[in-house]
Amino acid sequence: MFTTRRGLLVGAAVITAAGCTRETAHIITSDADLTAALRTARTLAAAADALGFGELAEDHLTHAATLERLLRPNVVADETGELPADAAALAAAESAGSEEAGDACLTTESDYAVLLGEIAACRAAHAAVLA
């Protein structure tokens, strides 16, 4: 069938383009650690903004934007629960969020350990500043 080298290459390209190879289809699943980090980032951003800590809110929005981009094509519904009522409660939420991201950093098998560590460190710094 493919009597020349060029014919062989063209044939291979046609077969690949037609989807007739043994490539395994992968189902794209959402990363649970990134999803949890995104939900927490959105909650902390809303809380910091509501309490007048605009620069801290910006940090969380930056995290959220990065996490949303990494999770595509999955979309995580924007569900913000009850927000911390004051600076002390926000500091506690920042600290809990830091622990969540830190635990994920230590256990993740993905390539996002440093990213999760960065988010944990940022939240820890926020908690210290608010305390």
Partner: protein
């Protein structure tokens, strides 16, 4: 050289820098610098404990580190800001290790150094906000 070796070297250098810079400071920056220097010494001790637990031999500190002459309080503040940023960057880089004990130590040190960096920024009138502490620009 492991990521912990690199982090220990950064902590040694930070202690040296604080020893040289803190005497030029007054008021709030002075006592915050003294607190942060004590934290660096505690972190160094914790790292040395890690070496002992792992049966490893840590490198000693150098006799001196290359820092510019400190003329006044402003220069001291700038030096310590650069030191805290550098230490944070070093520990952040260590988190990439796949060795579990090393990653755990580096993450703890990274979190503590990010807190120290934020505290020093506030002390010298710089915003503490930073979404990616220690990330190289």
């Amino acid at each position: 050289m492991t990521v912990v070796d690199t982090g220990l070297a950064a902590e040694y250098a930070a202690i040296y820098a604080y020893s040289a810079a803190t005497v030029h400071l007054d008021g709030d920056p002075r006592w915050i610098a003294e607190e942060l220097e004590a934290e660096h010494r505690s972190r160094r001790d914790a790292i040395l404990d890690y070496y002992a637990e792992q049966g490893l031999q840590p490198a000693p500190p150098l006799a001196g580190y290359d820092i510019d002459p400190i003329a006044d309080a402003a220069a001291a503040q700038d030096l310590l800001l650069a030191v805290e940023a550098s230490v944070t960057t070093t520990w952040r880089a260590g988190v990439v290790t796949t060795e579990p004990h090393e990653r755990e130590l580096c993450l703890r040190m990274y979190g503590e150094s990010a807190v120290a960096l934020a505290r020093w920024r506030l002390a010298v009138g710089v915003s503490a906000a930073d979404p990616w502490p220690g990330r190289p620009e």
